[in-house]
């Protein structure tokens, strides 16, 4: 018996701003994790030099702060795009406020955790579970930005970081803010591991170009599902 062949059409899901956001974000987060880890636990380098001859720790911190600003404003642009972008970029994708979204979350959990075969059609944009997880991730972005800029506010008298100085007394002092900021670095690391894996996994079991979609913007949908 011959298998019935499906016909797939290409769909432009990720517009350029979304893809740009994604990769700028990925690079910033990678830099922030590496430099942040070094700030928390500087490596012991060997000591031929005197202090005035080198500035590596200062440079690490500088990279952290520059990436931090890019990370934050890039994120704001993404939020804006959530209101003006195409259907797949819209903010509604990230909050499961419809019954069908909760239904899809359950289906995806079955596919991802119980490794059941893909039964129903999975949304071509973010699936509902991914959307929800990204929403929680956005909250962590905000947390990390608020704690980060709060720490930064004591190193800078410029206007922007000062907006966050209230976070310090709110969280009980700089020490606490630093600890939380450090702890949440691990969220980003664990998120990155699982995120990259699940992209590959869904690419594999759905066969609709999940991985390459963030480069070219295209995904594929069965003709009868369009």
């Amino acid at each position: 018996m011959a298998v019935k062949n499906a016909v797939y059409r290409r769909v432009y899901v990720w517009e350029f701003p979304v893809r740009l956001y994604h990769w700028v974000n990925a690079i910033c987060v990678a830099l922030l994790i590496v430099t942040g880890y070094l700030i928390g636990k500087p490596i012991a380098i060997e000591y031929g030099n005197e202090a005035y001859q080198q500035y590596w720790f200062g440079t690490v911190r500088f990279i952290h702060f520059v990436s931090a600003f890019i990370f934050f404003f890039n994120f704001l642009v993404r939020i804006y795009w959530g209101f003006v972008g195409n259907t797949y970029a819209r903010w509604q994708n990230f909050i499961p406020w419809k019954k069908s979204q909760w239904h899809e979350i359950k289906e995806i959990l079955k596919v991802d955790i119980l490794q059941r075969d893909v039964g129903e059609r999975i949304s071509i944009g973010h699936n509902s579970l991914a959307g929800l997880v990204y929403f929680l991730t956005f909250l962590v972005f905000l947390f990390q930005a608020f704690t980060g800029f709060a720490l930064y506010s004591s190193m800078s008298s410029s206007f922007f970081p000062q907006l966050f100085s209230w976070v310090v007394p709110f969280m009980g002092g700089d020490f606490a803010v630093r600890q939380w900021h450090h702890m949440f670095m691990w969220f980003f690391i664990v998120f990155a591991i699982i995120h990259v894996y699940l992209v590959f996994y869904h690419d594999y079991v759905e066969g609709r170009g999940t991985t390459s979609s963030m480069v070219g913007g295209w995904k594929f949908e069965r003709e009868e599902d369009l």
């Binding site: 500087p42 000591y47 080198q54 490794q115 700089d174 702890m183 699982i194 594999y204």
Partner: protein
């Protein structure tokens, strides 16, 4: 009727020369941030202004704030200030005891209602109606509330009074509470365990000279002294920026005086003036003597241990476990998880994958047949 001696006469009588007095005044002016033109103001304040009566209360504390204060760097600083405010009641320094002492306090509160200065050293236990600290048969809460009512100015000396310090450390058995959380009036917090003597003198001097509170930050601390971190003015900072760190207290790097960040120095999270004013007449401060900052003027510093490590221990996991330990375990767990998932995927989804491969092979075949 003989006139009461002016303050100048009084200090001259007590053996302080005019020259010393003026030297003190310039010093005090510099401390509160006045330039040379401001010195006459200070001189005038100390010579002419009426002496505000002061009540100094001691609750849950170790008296290190008082000890610090009487060791102000200029030998006559504390002297002059103690003379300049008329300290009507302070358990540790006053001569009278018992009812006589209590009476001088009640008299001051009555006769100078709305005019006296209230200085508080120590935290106030709130649990069980405050029975854990009673003086003359009354609880600290009562005494504080009563004294605060008519006070023109309230200063919380030290970390105990400003943030609870060790009494309030976990599990805080007596529910030790800082002064500003008990009163609804403005309170100047001068944290530190103890606070720097010169900072204490300067806060009082500011009030005597200008007759009002110094500018305070969001946590009620005078901005003059608490707006910068120890780290920002630390002389070891160039080593920090250069990434040259002490790795252990007995290494070559410690001998060279590198930055103590990796030894758990709390300078980067501690707001205080230690690196500027230093201690004991400008002799030194902890970092200068080779020991990291403990963060003694910060909230909860006792609970942020261990002191000799950058990261605190992770709550609930024992002292050796930091956020990094937990993070590493979770991270490795996630890697192992996805690896296992990838393997089982290939086993469990063999049928599905085979179907896809067959589908694809069909396509090839169809093409070969010219569709």
């Amino acid at each position: 009727m003989s006139k009461t001696p002016s303050f100048r006469e009084q200090i001259e009588r007590s053996g302080v020369s005019r020259r010393d007095f003026l030297r003190f005044c310039s010093y005090a002016a510099a401390l509160i941030g006045l330039d040379a033109a401001g010195i006459p103001k200070v001189v005038q304040a100390f010579e002419k202004k009426p002496r505000p009566p002061a009540i100094w209360l001691h609750f849950q504390e170790c008296t290190c704030c008082s000890e610090s204060f009487i060791r102000s760097s200029h030998p006559i600083v504390a002297d002059i200030i103690l003379n300049q405010i008329s300290l009507d009641y302070t358990q540790t320094l006053q001569a009278p005891a018992g009812e006589a002492a209590e009476k001088s306090k009640t008299d001051t509160m009555k006769n100078y209602y709305g005019k006296y200065v209230l200085l508080v050293e120590g935290a106030v236990p709130m649990k069980d109606d405050g029975v854990y600290c009673t003086i003359g048969g009354r609880s600290a809460i009562d005494i504080l509330k009563e004294a605060a009512e008519g006070a023109a100015l309230i200063i919380a000396w030290g970390s105990c009074a400003s943030n609870g310090c060790i009494q309030a450390a976990n599990p805080n058995p007596t529910k030790a509470t800082p002064v500003h959380e008990i009163l609804d009036k403005p309170v100047i917090n001068v944290p530190g365990c103890p606070p720097i003597a010169d900072v204490m003198s300067a806060v009082i001097t500011h009030f005597l000279v200008f007759g009002r509170l110094p500018e305070l930050d969001g946590q009620g601390r005078p901005k003059e002294f608490y707006s910068r971190r120890v780290h920002d003015t630390c002389y070891r900072r160039p080593y920090y920026d250069a990434g040259l760190f002490v790795e252990s207290f007995d290494d070559e790097k410690a001998r060279k005086g590198y930055c103590l960040y990796k030894m758990g120095c709390r300078g980067p999270v501690t707001y205080n003036a230690c690196a500027v004013t230093k201690w004991n007449a400008g002799t030194s401060y902890p970092i200068q003597s080779g020991h990291g900052c403990l963060g003694c003027s910060e909230n909860n510093f006792w609970d942020n241990g261990p002191f000799y490590r950058h990261l605190a221990s992770f709550p609930g996991f024992g002292i050796e476990t930091t956020a990094d330990t937990i993070g590493t375990v979770v991270g490795v767990g996630a890697l192992a998880g996805v690896a296992a998932h990838a393997i089982t995927t290939n086993i469990r989804k063999r049928k599905l994958i085979n179907k896809h491969i067959e589908e694809s092979a069909n396509n090839e075949k169809n093409k070969g047949e010219g569709e």
